[in-house]
Amino acid sequence: METMSAIDPQRQFEQVVVPHLDAAYNLARWLAGNEHDAEDIAQEACLRAFRFLGGFRGGNARSWLLTVVRNTAYTWLKQNRPQAVVSIAEDELHEIEDPDALKNHSSALHHADRDVLRAALEQLPTEFREVLILRELEGLSYKEISEVADAPIGTVMSRLARARRQLQNFLAKKGELP
């Protein structure tokens, strides 16, 4: 049986962590809101991941690294920007689908401007923004998102629905929706 500890740790780092560095930085960047803090968070998370490579049991390296990034980012946010992590009330579940709100956007959205989309994502609450980044930019499944965001799948689904609706509302106000 080949054991992980027998492998050169540097090589292991290149194999497990480095391939997902872009994904790690992307999540850190969207959570931190600027390049400087994102680099600090991504660096700390990757080094933590390196130290805990023994705790990685194989499987989905990207989800595992993103979980470490997310935890590092939230610890950092709580220390430096506590107002950014005000928890959203999860019991507003029935609010997820307001058919009328959706109807207003029933026309297709055409080539929304990149800067407007960025601004739209940035104004979302952190917990909503992260599920959209993980789903739309990183292509994670509901199950993977629930692991990374440490939330039950039902919560992931309601956050995703509400995040999309808020995004549509924002874009409608900016005139990006006809």
């Binding site: 872009d22 390049e35 297709a108 309601s158």
Partner: protein
Amino acid sequence: MNCHEIHPLLHAYVDSELSLMPSLEVDRHLKSCAACAAMKRSLESLRANLRNADLAYRAPESLRARLRKSVAAETEEKPHRVSRPWLWQLIALGSLGFAVFTLMLQPAGISSHDRLADEAISDHVRSLMAGHLMDVASTDQHTVKPWFNGKIDFAPEVKDFAAQGFPLVGGRLDYLEGQTVAALVYQRNKHTINAFVWPAKTASRNSVQEHRGYTVINRDINGLHYCIVSDLNGKELQEFANLLGG
């Protein structure tokens, strides 16, 4: 399904996270309902915009370089990191044990089980999304049990397991395998558990399955069949199933 039932499923539908049966039902509905079809298009268009706008940030070269340097430095500090092959053997043994355990619980009739699991998960997901988790919301077993009287032709046992960490939160009627079933709703921390109950008909069906990220436990208890669904881990859900078995 009507529009009201379709709306909560649309997100999972455009994300390709819906299982076959509900997905076909959504397909069918979209063909005949212009309003829902427009909503679906608007969601798809939002997704396409997010994907095509190149919004992902790429790690700067400086970060890559700094990381390699730090890793090299840490490796030199501890050239021989403590080798713990026994830990890996332990983990491997543990996983093997779990696999064998799971296999032992898998009965032969897999396909009908998969269909039931699929259907039960869809009911579970729908109950979470549509905000119709409960028709009778009560933590009192003496309120929930009589609520089912006259609505179904069997009397499910309703017990609160708050003391064991699985509080009862309510009940409702649902539909599984072509019949009306009782759904008992329990909570474990932030996880919701749906226990679907109906009279056991065929030979006893006991199984534990991991399916689409959910755990599904089938068990016959005192002439009733229980199909228990949750995104809770298998171990704790088994604990819950054992409580039901009393």
